[in-house]
Amino acid sequence: MTEVIANGVGFHIQRLLPRQELSRSKRPVVFIHGLAIDNLSSFYYTLANPVAHAGSEVILYDLRGHGLSERPRTGYQISDSVADLAAILDSLGVDGPVHLVGYSFGGAIALSFAVAYPDRVTSMLLIEAHVPVPGWAEQMAARIRKIALDVAGSDVGRWIAPKRKHARLAVVDDLINNTTLVTDLLASKPLPQQELRMFARPVRAVYGAHSDILGHAHLLDSLLSEYTLTVLPGLDHWLLSNAPQVLRGIVLDWFAAQAEVGAR
């Protein structure tokens, strides 16, 4: 476990080192989780440890405002998240390219990072990734407001709730209602699609057939030259919690293939 100050914010980081000797061709794998109710634990218990066991160095971090990272009042535009990731990698001494794995909103960060720092990304694996297209921010803001309402309407009331569980809900409520998260999302600029077209590294995407953002998968197909899409039948947006074993197989196959490419 590591705690670093990066871009002026304290971040909770978990760095998993491979048990077998590191191959020189293997780049670190950085996992980026989703928004609001998510944190690095969703990757930690599903994909991250198997990837580390297969021989890659793994870096997980809690986004600002999430998990055990600091929760500043401001700085929640996607460009802030991109700057956070760059600063975290700098602070860890990772200056070469990395593999990015992004889930949901974490996919939007991965894509934006790849546009901003194409030389620092060797591949991307996107799971139900949001693509910041025009109008997307409004949809995300609506999703987050719904989460806030769900939290406020939770039957875990202030007077009957166990103390720590109530505190946990209060953290999500604080992130959504007392920081600039929603206004910053609305102010985030759409992903510059022409610049994404320039990204020539391999990208693997996985979506559920019943995902409400399946259109994003097809948009990426039209933009990226080295793109492979898998659509999983019978599943929706919540792949990480509903189909972790299927994802595990896809992810391990992907990184085994990337290691072979890197070794050539």
Binding site: M1, Q14, R19, N39, L40, S41, S42, Y44, Y45, N49, D62, G67, L68, P162, K163, R164, K165, R168
Partner: protein
């Protein structure tokens, strides 16, 4: 290490995670439940996992330990279950050198 010594160390880790203030209201023993009593959330289990690895090394693979359990078993897990797991791992790999 004896199970009592392991329990004392695990108890200290849990108090650090949940906070001394909340821990004051609890009498953490071998029967204490991770969910019902300590109300640990997933990100705190990550922190516990990292602390266990830091203290005991890879021999105590908490993630693999959890992977052997279904959700009901994880919810019902007690401090004693973890202490037993740590003791068993140590017995398999030899005594821990302090």
């Amino acid at each position: 290490m004896t199970p009592d010594q392991i329990f004392a160390e695990v108890r200290a880790m849990l108090i650090e995670i949940i906070g001394a203030e909340y821990a004051l209201s609890l009498d953490i023993d071998m029967e204490t439940s991770f969910d019902a009593d300590l109300e640990l959330e997933s990100i705190e289990l990550v922190k516990l996992s990292a602390m266990l690895t830091e203290r005991y090394g890879d021999r105590v693979d908490f993630v693999a330990f959890l992977a052997t359990k279904d959700l009901d078993e994880i919810i019902e897990m007690t401090v004693g279950d973890l202490v037993t797991h740590v003791a068993r791992c140590q017995a398999l790999t030899g005594a821990l050198n302090d």
